[in-house]
Amino acid sequence: MDILSLFIIVPIITILVLVFTKNLKQARVVSMVGSSVQLLMAINLVFAYFKERAVNSSIMVFTKDIVWFEPFNIHYTIGVDGVSVALLLLTAIVVLAGVFISWKMCDLPKEFFISLIVLSIGVYGFFISLDLFTMFVFFEIAVIPMYLLIGIWGSGPKEYSAMKLTLMLMGASAILLVGILGIYFNSDADGGALTFNILEIAQVNIPIESQKLFFPLTFIGFAVIGALFPFHTWSPDGHASAPTAVSMLHAGVLMKLGGYGVFRVAMYLLPLGAIDWSWVFIILSVIGVVYGAFSAIKQTDLKYINAYSSVSHLGLVLFALLMLNKTAWNGAILQSLSHGFMTALFFALIGMIYGRTHTRDIGKLGGLLKVIPFISVIYVIAGLASLGLPGFSGFVAEMNIFVGAFQEDNMFMRVATILSVSVIVITAVYILRVVGIMLMGPIKKEAYLKLEKVTWYERFGILLLLIPIVGIGVAPLWLSDMILESLDPFIKGLL
């Protein structure tokens, strides 16, 4: 079994074992073991990647190709480059953290963990597949469990949010399907055979007019899950209603599929279309960046604040991807990673606070720094990371994005860039607002005086997410170089 397919096999095995578990204890242990194995594999993959990369200079390494539907030339093609390796690592970490966070999932635990791991299968598969069809399959596999996860284990208007989220994402993927078919039927433009294989299609010069036609479909199809304005409205409600672990996985990993897909499919396969359309989507994404930040200022529900900040941060990702240069793209990937860790951490902490105080309304909270210091301190750190403080991953990513965007020398880009840079101020405003109201200040309720201290599994989950944030922030070189050199072949397609 090759190193990559294991990323699909192991979760499946985990699920099969889970089916036979009796109660919460067994279920969580099994899924913990399973996802720990995943994490180890992911870490091992990083080293294996570096070793392989040293000797193998092809775009993708560890590639494997099995014919699946021969008549359509559909293959099960997998392979990774630096980008996917990084994102796989992110996924593995967030999933494990998610399992730890939902250590006390009482209602239908077995089903919960199964759906969680199904979701992760989708994500892993998406990141490793090089075949549009396979990619699409995994994409939908990743999306659909959200419905159950939010609908069954969620809170608040969960049915409504779940339905909205699922419909918008599936609608997007439906549009994406048209785009993919469009690409597929243009993949013989140079007289070759029709193919879904990304690397092969990249060699084909798809005629400009069909690129113009299919780029928006593909881009929007992916970008909706990346919370592109104005298609982001599923995200606040979805996050607010979802259970903690699901918000973590969703904001931390699932929303990254959007950026990754745009990068791997839309920009890579339809460069001319991208160049032709970029201005529209740049406007949209910049709006998303500023707009998300501003609406985060006025929210009072912690999860809404975080959801809107996600809109803003991921807006930066799309913005950077549209910039068509390596630095910005590097920034986009780094931003995906760092936002993944940060927002997962945020949601974990919010979940803990909510679990203790039973409210997410910052107006009702106060002085938590005194009563649950560990959680609060980590919250402050996460906040600082999210407002792009040096020493944390957010800074590294944003600087890459900004500097990269600044390489585009024309008035429109400049204005767009400066507008999006302004987000560093607005972010500071809403982050510090929350910190000031919720963590500092006098304690609002007597009840808060005797809140449960942080438990070992919570601590574990938190650290799992915090370490990479700091790691990337302090020593970004290895990561950013790993991504940078993987970007070369992709950027070449655009120039």
Binding site: T233, I297, P390, G391, M399, I424, G436, L477, S480
Partner: protein, 639 residues
């Protein structure tokens, strides 16, 4: 010159920070205090060793102070652009090392007494460690991005320390304000950096500052709205500096920052962090000077002058002693900035530069002293307000004397440190721009006046009835006072012009006697006025206050700048921008998505009548369908 060991200077406090931060539960307060102090002592010793090595052993090669740097890539942007981490050794950075070390060490020692019994004792020292680390990193930075990184870090440590009493709402607000205002300035800074990076292809100071370097020579290559982009970049960068150094109009955070513990105010908001702006301009001085014939530099000069005056006027009217000191800090920073602004480059031309750095040095000493003194007073009387003080000289002699020395120093009375540096600044201003000179002179007078208003108000004046008799602070607090007092006395005699100059080749600075005389007289007049007004309890001050009427009122209310900012943020941004956006998102954007769904359901309800259940209707539909299709495809859709 081997500069590896200098790495240790910032590392040590950082290690202290980690140590105290991670184990703050397990470490006993007393221990943590010692850890902090000794850690910093080590750094201080190393800094002094560095000074010795640089200035007296290796530094000078054929009459020019060399620049040594060691750096390694931290992150790559493009083939040419990358962020380095490293250390840059040249006169000003070495000088700053000393300033930071000394003041920080003093503050550490002082805090052991001042913070005694506070539950966050360990945390406090951890934060101090973090700050000191960041400040070292800032002064040693080798390139714009490194300086920006540590710039942010000092910003955040200042945020943490201002908000140290995090249960006090005012403290939280102040911390938030400080961070966001400076952050807003950094927004400009960052864009400036990016412009520089894009048009010169480097962030590195050595490359940028080289007068024969491409960065400076082809400043005119690209221009935007009539100015060179480089000039724009420098202006933007200066905005960043202005934010940190509380220059007008970014000054509003500094007074509120006094909510923090007094040692913090002494360290961060008087001596070290706030001079980062000055340091930044000095660091990029060649660019400021050469690019577009110092266009940006003029702006710097005027901003500095105005801030100095502005702050001095407000300082006169304040009654919270820490705020008075805060405004005086702002005013003195303005002084330094304007000195840079009026400076030239070659040899004696660069006197302004030298003077600015000199003043930075001396000011760090006596302003820290003032704050620590004020701290010890507050410690004694448990109040910040002049009205609760008076006649303290009997109770706390040491504080009294040291405070007096500091006051004399800042008032520019010889032979105290302040006189020398201030005199150089006035010389520079006089040679360069008469208007600025007059302003500076006037400010000097005002400074003397409000400083002694403060002094007399605290230590003389009426004898306030204290509920429990104030007593002199413990040795751990008075010792730093004494040390700093000594430095404020002797500091002025350092032949600064030999060491720190714009073109790095020292020159002989001579006292310009007429100017010095004028300065001294102005200073004396200020002191004398203060004496008349405040030494004894008399109505004079009130009478004159009335005489000035509205102006006085405005000054007390800091010319309503806080209100303006509040209006812009609360009323405009929150109410008029973000609230509508939030509503828009719920109603319009989300509403459309909702609408699509709901409309579909509504429509499906509308058409349900088609399924009437009457088999004859079905039959009709059937036949009608057939006929319509037949007709359409026979007559219309014929292809």
């Amino acid at each position: 010159m081997n500069i590896d060991y200098i790495i240790l200077i910032p590392i040590i406090p950082f290690v202290v920070f980690l140590l105290l931060g991670v184990f703050h539960k397990r470490i006993k307060p007393a221990v943590s205090g010692y850890i902090g102090v000794f850690g910093l002592l080590a750094s201080t010793i190393l800094s002094f060793y560095a000074v010795y090595q640089y200035f007296f052993v290796y530094g000078k090669v054929n009459e020019i102070y060399q620049t040594f740097s060691e750096k390694s890539v931290w992150m790559n942007f493009t083939e040419t652009l990358h962020i380095d981490m490293g250390i840059l050794i040249d006169p000003i950075s070495v000088m700053m090392l000393v300033v930071v070390s000394v003041v920080s060490l003093m503050v550490h020692i002082y805090s052991r007494g001042y913070m005694k019994g506070d539950e966050g004792y360990t945390k406090f020292f951890a934060f101090l460690g973090l700050f000191t680390f960041s400040m070292y990193g800032l002064v040693l930075a080798t390139n714009l991005f490194q300086i920006y990184i540590f710039w942010e870090l000092v910003g955040v440590s200042s945020y943490l320390l201002i908000g140290y009493y995090y249960t006090k709402t005012s403290a939280i607000a102040a911390a938030k304000k400080a961070f966001i205002v400076t952050r807003f300035a950094d927004f400009g800074f960052l864009i400036g950096i990016m412009i520089i990076g894009y048009y010169t292809g480097t962030f590195d100071f050595e490359t940028l500052n080289n007068p024969e370097g491409s960065a400076i020579l082809n400043w005119a290559a690209t221009s935007f709205m009539g100015l060179s982009v480089i000039t724009w970049a420098l202006i933007l960068i200066f905005i960043g500096g202005a934010g940190k150094s509380a220059m007008f109009p970014f000054h509003i955070w500094l007074p509120d920052a006094m909510e923090g513990p007094t040692p913090v105010s002494a360290l961060i908001h008087a001596a070290t962090m706030v001079v980062a702006g000055v340091f930044l301009v000095a660091r990029l001085f060649p660019m400021f000077y050469f690019v577009e014939d110092g266009f940006a530099l003029n702006i710097v000069a005027y901003v500095g002058a105005f801030s100095a005056l502005f702050a001095a006027i407000i300082a006169i009217t304040q009654t919270d002693i820490k705020r008075v000191l805060a405004f005086s800090t702002m005013s003195q920073l303005g002084y330094m900035i304007l000195a840079l602004g009026v400076s030239g480059y070659e040899a004696h031309e660069g006197v302004g530069y030298m003077a600015s750095m000199f003043h930075l040095f001396t000011h760090a000493m006596f302003k820290a002293l003032l704050f620590l003194g004020a701290g010890s007073v507050i410690h004694a009387v448990h109040s910040n307000y002049l009205k609760d003080m008076g006649g303290l000289r009997k109770y706390m002699p040491v504080t009294n004397i040291t405070f007096l020395i500091a006051a004399l120093a800042i008032a520019g009375v010889p032979p105290f440190a302040g006189f020398w540096s201030k005199d150089e600044i006035l010389v520079a201003a006089f040679e360069h721009n008469k208007l600025i000179y007059c302003v500076a002179l006037f400010v000097a007078g005002l400074t003397a006046f409000y400083m002694f208003r403060l002094y007399f108000g605290i230590f003389w004046g009426k004898d306030t009835a204290y509920m429990h008799k104030p007593k002199e602070s413990p040795l751990s607090m008075t010792f730093p006072l004494i040390i700093l007092a000594l430095l404020s006395i002797v500091g002025g005699f350092i032949p600064f012009s030999e060491f720190v100059t714009a073109d790095k080749s020292g020159f002989q600075a001579h006292l310009n006697y007429p100017l010095a005389a004028i300065a001294i007289t102005v200073g004396i007049i200020g002191v004398a006025l203060a004496w008349v007004f405040y030494k004894k309890e008399n109505g004079l001050s009130d009478i004159y206050a009335k005489a000035f009427g509205p102006l006085y009122k405005w000054a007390i209310d800091k010319f309503y700048f806080d209100e303006i900012y509040l209006f812009i943020t609360k009323k405009v941004l929150f109410k008029r921008v973000s609230a509508p956006i939030a509503k828009f998102d719920k109603k319009v954007v989300d509403g459309t998505m909702e609408g699509i769904g709901n409309k579909t359901v509504v429509f499906s309800n509308k058409i349900k009548g088609m399924q009437s259940g009457k088999v004859q209707d079905y039959g009709f539909a059937f036949v009608a369908g057939v006929v319509v299709i037949a007709l359409v495809f026979i007559y219309l859709w014929t292809n």
